[in-house]
Symmetry: C2
Subunit: 477 residues, 2 copies
């Protein structure tokens, strides 16, 4: 309450009756309430008779009795017949003192952590215009709820787009809208747990986020190794009770390889043999620089593959929109779930994406980003070759990250710490491994790193790397 | 694939090479993939040598070998050295036939179900403009993630607004942003379960949604009756292991009363005595027509009350924005939770609301809606008095619903069914009760009912009510 208004007194305490909007009664309520909440009006202290306070303020007595009445209703004051209105006796519990501040951690100046797209390239005007169009056009009824379903026009637009760009096979009824891949995995897990699944094969290494969702939903991750052809599918048969597999076929995260054709067929055969399901995390498949993107696994076996996709890499996680494509029988099972446990995206957002697609803005953005990322990756790889020739970039020319093999003897954890002191955001490859491996590496994200900062970032990385080589004598901890 | 392009043949099958965007290789891939997916190109059938297909299409041979290569990579084709490229042998599982359509259920023409605000009054242009401003102004970093936190400016705006309109006591660090009350209750439940709570007192009757969230999170609801002063707080002490209570103090749902001052104090005393917490579901407190809204319970005991609020009633559930105000110690415990299990709202949406508040648009909208709903409720009550004089409206002049007591002997379930045949959406009061009570009633929502339809809706309701009186002889079921 910072506005300056009329001062008035209650006992020895002077209070401020603020100017501003609202009736006099309302402002008087606010002033008294604040006095009580801050402790300036002590518990049990008597309020002046309404007549005298009214004359001090210069208002009708009715205003004061109204205000007292309201605060009695709210529990701040106590009125006793024949006695003064008093501040409630047990007015404890009002917090004082400086508040704890919850600030989001600032992003490091040279942010090489993977997973963040080029935020500066977010098509702000176009998205705002698409959203405006969506808000203006959305039927009233859709404003009543969430968008597991949305309009059939928007669903058809998105389905057609995914068929064209990811070669999925689906009809719009197989598409469910989510707020993102993690949320989609959440209710997929709920569904699969209900259908009796207790274990899921996951790639080792892989992103911990989706694995953790499965685990929280009661489905235990079973690590399966990854080699240069992707998931080592042959190892699945070692686990007889596993009938689910979570994979990143287009661009394995973080290893950066594509699942080979032979492995694709082997994986689908496995799923058919065990009557299982494959969950395809299609997280960054829009971005391939050396060739066209490999088509989705879903298109090859729509009866056995669930595809998880989102706008997180293509536009921004802040849009909060993703999708699930499921085989028909699973859709039917989904409808048997409590739908209110499913957090669906805003129908306005879904319509806005449909507008972006229909006007060609979304594909234009993807094309522009593909060129931008390709160039950024080249600059990054060149800088690494120049300043860190003893390291090795592995993986395909794709996506927004690259795995970097460090010289033997480098302490990757130490490098992450030393990097932080040089304003570098780094992530060790170890973070994604389920079973530890003594092979030091980093997973470097270049999506949100400005081109002009690449060279300096890599120079700083080179210094930090040099400092993080284990000396032959073990240094004391 | 509806575009018409060049036809070409593979064996006896003729395929369509579509016109349109994309390179010739890409379009050839699409045509072959579609042929395989639809089963027109049978498993194991041989593809023509690249030279002959190229000459049929009239393109370079390289285009065909590229396309074949891509489809081998994707697993659609198999290449064997010295032999023809073939369609993969086990290409089963491609669904055919008409797809099941998942259409959202249409809203009834006379929608008297509670919980839906006036969707036609959604301030489309203003919201679009606020969103546009938010998209253009949002710092890049905020596009990287979700908005449990958001900008401190937006948080301060919302905190100030809640202090002004709901008399909450908080500083911005106590505010957490959610996608709505149900989601907020979800992670509050996770937190409270982790802190050892196993049971929660809930109002009987009450909305089942939040209770169900608690139950799913492992906290069992314990029903406590409601009378004309709100929750019968005295009954809490019958349950020694209950230290949580979920209440609707401003406007009990569905009974429609406000929690009295004495009960407010009694409830807070109870919470202090048992070292417990009160969850205040502040779902429709913006709308009171006979008096000013009762201040929040949170403002009276910020150390013991968690306030749950959202835009669902004030704007639309489709915005997907809500908030939680928690005591400081709970905020600290929250930070110990896995934050990735929390679905936070889009930071753009949070900023858009801040713009709405700063420009005064949000309060103007609330004022306009208050007048509109007040008038609508009056028309509705008048129509009920005219066409259904034997019923009784109970509860305060507030919110978007009113409880209607039916004449004794009315079969409310039958009335709901008969109403549906007359295009009326009705909900029996029974739906909200945990312990059944033989006192027939409806809970009627008027928020989304057009003024011009009220009279006809009530006339239809009168006819359906007359048809639903139990005859003295019990009719066979």
């Amino acid at each position: 309450m910072v506005s300056i208004g009329l001062m008035f007194t209650v006992g020895a305490v002077s209070l401020n009756l603020p100017d501003g909007p609202g009736s006099l009664t309302r402002r008087l309520c606010a002033a008294l309430r604040e006095g009580i909440q801050t402790g300036r009006l002590a518990p049990d202290s008597a309020l002046p008779p309404s007549r005298s306070l009214a004359s001090e303020i210069g208002c009708s007595r009715w205003v004061v009795t109204e205000a007292y009445g309201q605060l009695v209703t709210e529990g701040y004051l106590i009125a006793t017949t024949g006695s003064a209105t008093r501040v409630r006796g047990t007015a404890t519990g009002f917090p004082t003192g400086a508040a704890h501040q919850l600030a989001p951690p600032p992003r490091p100046r040279f942010d090489l952590t993977p997973g963040v797209p080029d935020l500066a390239a977010f098509p702000r005007s176009r998205w705002a215009e698409a959203y405006r169009q969506a808000v203006l056009d959305l039927p009233n009824d859709l404003l009543a709820g969430r968008a597991l379903i949305s309009t059939s026009a928007a669903r058809t637009t998105l389905t057609d787009f995914l068929r064209r760009t990811r070669q999925v096979q689906e009809d719009p009824s197989q598409l469910s809208l989510t707020t993102g891949s993690t949320a989609g995995m959440g209710w997929l897990t709920a569904l699969l747990a209900k259908l009796g699944h207790t274990r899921i094969a996951v790639e080792d290494p892989s992103w911990a986020g989706l694995r953790a969702v499965a685990r929280r939903g009661g489905i235990t991750p079973v690590p399966i190794p990854v080699d240069q052809h992707g998931l080592v599918v042959g190892r699945l048969s070692e686990h007889r009770d596993v009938r689910l597999a979570l994979v990143t076929p287009a661009h394995q995260f973080p290893v950066g390889v594509a699942l080979s054709a032979a492995r694709r067929l082997e994986l689908i055969d496995w799923a058919r043999r065990v009557d299982g399901l494959i969950i395809e995390d299609d997280y960054d498949a829009d971005f391939r620089y050396d060739a066209r993107p490999v088509a989705s696994l879903q298109g090859l076996a729509p009866d056995r593959v669930v595809l998880l996709g989102s706008l997180s890499k293509a536009l921004s996680p802040a849009i909060e929109l993703g999708w699930l494509i499921m085989p028909q029988p699973l859709i039917m099972a989904l409808l048997g779930l409590d739908l209110d446990r499913i957090v669906s995206p805003s129908p306005i957002t879904v319509e806005a994406l449909a507008v972006m697609i229909e006007r060609g803005w979304y594909e234009r953005h993807l094309r522009a980003q593909r060129l931008r990322y390709r160039r950024r990756r080249e600059l990054f790889v060149d800088a690494l070759a120049q300043h860190l020739p003893q390291t090795q970039v592995t993986g395909l020319a794709a996506g927004l990250h690259l795995p970097l093999r460090l010289p033997p003897g480098t302490d990757a954890a130490e490098l992450v710490r030393r990097g932080a002191r040089r304003e570098l955001g780094l992530v060790s490859a170890e973070r994604y491994r389920i079973r530890p491996l003594d092979d030091p590496g980093l997973v470097l994200g270049f999506g949100n790193l400005r081109d002009s900062r690449i060279d300096e970032a890599v120079q700083r990385l080179a210094v930090a790397t040099a400092e993080s080589v284990r000396s032959p004598r073990r240094r004391p901890r």
